[in-house]
């Protein structure tokens, strides 16, 4: 079953083409690593797929729901934007209880799930402290829990390991992999390429709003012109170089 499907998805800001006829078909239960240089259109794409931005043309469906139908889309997605969406005046426990309430989750089992998740991320002892005193990593962890709390079929994560220490980053990576193994589709945007190499089933590279490559990480690292295996970083740099990008066709 296809979790995310876009057809000629396009976003224009005046004369600027931010996303150009994007075509994606992402099956359920995979981690899709979404890469691209700064300004390539990754955030715009994520915002369109989460219903926060209306496409200029084309269509997109997430979990079988059109992204223009915000009401139906809400139950299908979890979203962690680059800036953790948290209230400074709340404690972590209050923030997560609030987020659960907005999604109308049953109170008692949700409280237990919140405690479990907070414990998993070593946040339980700080759960009753206000978020304005949290470190960047602690905020990121709370925001991650908030994105997956309602167990959505599709999760959009924008730089989820940003600001995390190696142990916490590893926990998040394991969690992302675990989500996919349990059938959740994870749309992962990050600049930390080893994370993508580690957890992604498929990698798509966006440049100037267009998808210039799409493949498994293994195939992608072996497809370089030299024929020799390279790191994902080498491939990324090679593909996003403007002169070469025009010569490479999307695969898949």
């Amino acid at each position: 079953m296809t979790a995310i499907e876009t057809t000629t998805l396009t976003k224009r800001y005046g004369d600027t083409l931010a996303v150009d006829s994007l075509a994606l078909q992402i099956p359920s239960g995979v981690v899709y690593g979404f890469l691209g240089p700064n300004g390539a259109g990754k955030t715009t794409t994520m915002r369109m797929l989460t219903g926060l931005l209306t496409p200029s043309s084309g269509s997109a469906h997430v979990g079988g729901v059109s992204v223009t139908d915000r009401d139906a889309l809400r139950s299908q997605i979890g979203y962690l934007p680059e800036t953790p969406p948290l209230y400074d005046e709340a404690t972590a426990f209050e923030q997560l209880t609030y987020a659960a309430g907005l999604r109308d989750l049953p109170e008692d089992p949700t409280q237990e799930r919140i405690e479990t998740l907070l414990d998993d991320f070593d946040l339980l002892d700080d759960a009753d402290d206000r978020i304005d005193g949290y470190s960047k990593g602690m905020r990121q962890k709370v925001a991650y829990i908030q994105a997956v709390l309602h167990e959505p079929p599709v999760v959009f994560l924008d730089e989820p390991t940003s600001g995390l220490d190696p142990r916490a980053a590893k926990t998040i990576r394991q969690r992302i992999r675990g989500l996919a193994d349990d059938g959740t589709t994870v749309f992962l945007s990050t600049h930390i390429l080893p994370v993508v190499e580690d957890v992604a089933d498929t990698v798509g590279i966006l440049s100037d709003g267009a998808l210039i490559a799409e493949d498994t990480p293994t195939s992608m690292t072996q497809r370089a012109e030299s024929g020799q295996k390279q790191s994902l970083e080498d491939v990324f740099l090679e593909l996003t170089d403007s002169e070469q990008a025009a010569e490479v066709q999307p695969n898949g």
Binding site: R70, E89, A99, G101
Partner: protein
């Protein structure tokens, strides 16, 4: 320790900040109108009055400057300091792009840059009336000295108010973040302080000892700046040379003292973390935690998402009461009206009508005046998590479920001690309920139509700011004006008819007459027509029209707010 050339850097920072303000005001036409409009209005009215009374003013000779005038200027200065202090504490105590600024220049440079920017804003704001006053002073009194003395007095007035407000503001901001007791109980302390200060002010202004005489403040040196201003007029109005010199000396002390204090306080304030107010004995029980999120017992029949939004709106304001600083104005107006009535022995007559209008005004502005801006970084998640209808209902519930009955009950109780008939009391209660209902519903629509976000996107782009002043003013007028007309039509329709005829016919006719631009006859006829209108027709026609119109506007606003949230695309 400041870097070399810090004064140049401070000037660059202040000028850049000022230019940003000008650009922002120019780009936002409603803000432009709200900023420039009152000053242009004051300038035009002042000019009209000066032209109208030019002959009398030219005939003045040897008039001694009264102490009451000095007191009035001093009161204006104190009010300015209060506004500037409040503005700094609630909006500007931390630097924009703080990490960048403090790793680039010294705290002294940043503080002086702020002072320069505020001074430039203040001078720009008062430029038009100052020019009008100076030109009129020269034309009427024929003394070129006014070109020197009036600008000097104005600039000194603005600068001393800014320096004092800035230093006091930073001191309060430091206390609020570095003294655990104050940080924990800032809502109670702030509220009590405002009540004491306002009570003291009102007692002083209207107490039995002084009556309405403002001369009790004439000992404040900023009021003596009036003596500096009139020095250039010549012999027409005589001020005190000693007080003029004293005001300049004390102003110099205020400026230097303000700069030194600001420098010292900001050095400690910006480079230190606020004290924690988290409890040492953290609760571990779920029910206790849930209770923290629900300060008001919203009934369970309200859907959970809506209830959570309502609870959080209240909780957020309790934990960060500076969000509601804009409520100071209606609170002071209501307090002021009640106090004056008490002082005049007319509390029984005044309290119920004041409650019927003032309580809806206050209750309706607690939530929803800047809902999109209030969410800060949570806004994208919120849009992706909750339906528009549930969110808007969440904003309306506190006002409709708590504010509406409270306004009705308190108005009714006030009516019981009033001399009004039971029909009139019921009418006042009806006005309170109607006004609260309409005002609560239109607030989110106005707040979402004119959202306020942090203008700068570096570093602190997720800061929460108070609503736009234009939103607050528009909403206040939407509540107070119809409320006053309805109250007037209920309790004293003849007086209301006279007031309406004067406002819509008399004042325009007067102004047009002074300016001699024609159209006077039309407005005089309008005044006569309103006066000739039958009381019952006015009462039921205008009153019914206001009620029906208000309900219609509320309906439109409700739909607009939902549509705005549904279509909202975070930038």
């Amino acid at each position: 320790m400041a870097e070399s050339g810090w004064l140049t850097h401070a000037w660059q920072m202040g000028w850049f900040d000022f230019k940003r303000t000008l650009t922002g005001v120019w780009d936002d036409k409603s803000r432009l109108a709200m900023t420039v409009g009152p000053m242009v209005f004051v300038g035009i009215v002042g000019l009209a009055l000066l032209v109208a009374f030019a002959d009398e003013l030219q005939g003045l000779s040897g008039v001694t400057l009264p102490d009451g005038a000095r007191g009035q200027v001093a009161m204006f200065w104190v009010f300015g300091v209060y506004i500037l202090t409040n503005r700094l504490v609630t909006q500007r105590s931390r630097l924009e792009a703080e990490a960048f600024v403090l790793t680039t220049v010294s705290a002294r440079t940043a503080a002086m840059g702020h002072i320069i920017a505020e001074t430039l804003r203040g001078l720009a704001y008062f430029a038009a009336p100052t020019i009008v006053l100076t030109a009129a002073g020269f034309i009427i009194f024929g003394s070129p000295g006014v070109f020197l003395t009036i600008p000097i007095a104005t600039v000194t007035f603005v600068m001393t108010a800014i320096l004092t407000g800035t230093a006091v503001g930073y001191l309060i901001a430091w206390l609020l973040t570095h003294v655990k007791f104050i940080r924990r109980y800032k809502t109670i302390i702030g509220g009590s302080l405002v009540a004491v200060v306002m009570g003291g002010y009102l007692m002083a202004v209207m107490g039995p000892m002084e009556g309405l005489n403002m001369s009790f403040l004439d000992w404040l040196p900023p009021g003596w700046l009036l003596d500096v201003g009139v020095l250039g007029i010549g012999e027409a109005i005589e001020g005190s040379t000693v007080k003029a010199a004293g005001s300049m000396l004390s102003s110099a002390l205020l400026l230097i003292g303000g700069m030194v204090a600001t420098d010292r306080i900001t050095n400690g304030y910006w480079y230190s973390a606020p004290v924690s107010i988290d409890d040492d004995d953290d609760p571990t029980d779920h029910s206790e935690r849930s209770y923290q999120l629900g300060p008001l017992p919203f009934p369970k029949f309200i859907s959970q998402p809506t209830r959570r939004v309502s609870e959080w709106v209240i909780m957020r304001s309790i934990r960060d009461p500076s969000r509601l600083s804009y409520l100071t104005v209606p609170a002071i107006v209501v307090f002021d009206a009640v106090f004056i009535a008490y002082n005049d022995g007319a509390l029984d007559v005044t309290l119920a009508p004041v409650f019927a209008i003032g309580l809806p005004w206050i209750f309706s502005e607690v939530a929803g005046m800047n809902p999109l801006g209030d969410e800060g970084s949570m806004l994208p998640l919120l849009v992706a998590s909750i339906s528009a209808r549930q969110y808007i209902h969440g904003l309306l519930v506190p006002g409709l479920l708590v504010g509406l009955p409270l306004a009705g009950i308190l108005t009714g109780l006030a009516g019981m001690i009033s001399p009004y008939s039971s029909v009139e009391i019921a009418g006042l209660v009806g006005i309170a309920l109607y006004l609260t209902f309409v005002a609560v519903i239109i607030a989110p629509a106005l707040g979402m139509a004119m959202p306020r976000f942090d203008a700068i996107s570096i570093g602190r782009s997720d800061d929460v700011l108070p609503p736009r002043m234009s939103t607050v003013v528009l909403h206040s007028l939407s509540v107070v004006v119809p409320g006053a007309v309805l109250g007037g039509l209920l309790l004293d329709p003849e007086l209301t008819r006279t007031a309406l005829s004067f406002i819509f016919g008399g004042i325009p006719a007067l102004v047009l007459g002074v300016l001699d631009v024609g159209g006077v006859g039309w407005f005089e006829q309008l005044m006569a027509d309103i006066q000739a209108t039958d009381i019952e027709t006015l009462r039921y026609g205008l009153g019914g029209g206001i009620i029906a119109g208000g309900l219609f506007v509320a309906g439109v606003c409700y739909q607009h707010a939902i549509s705005r949230f549904e279509k909202y695309e975070p930038q």
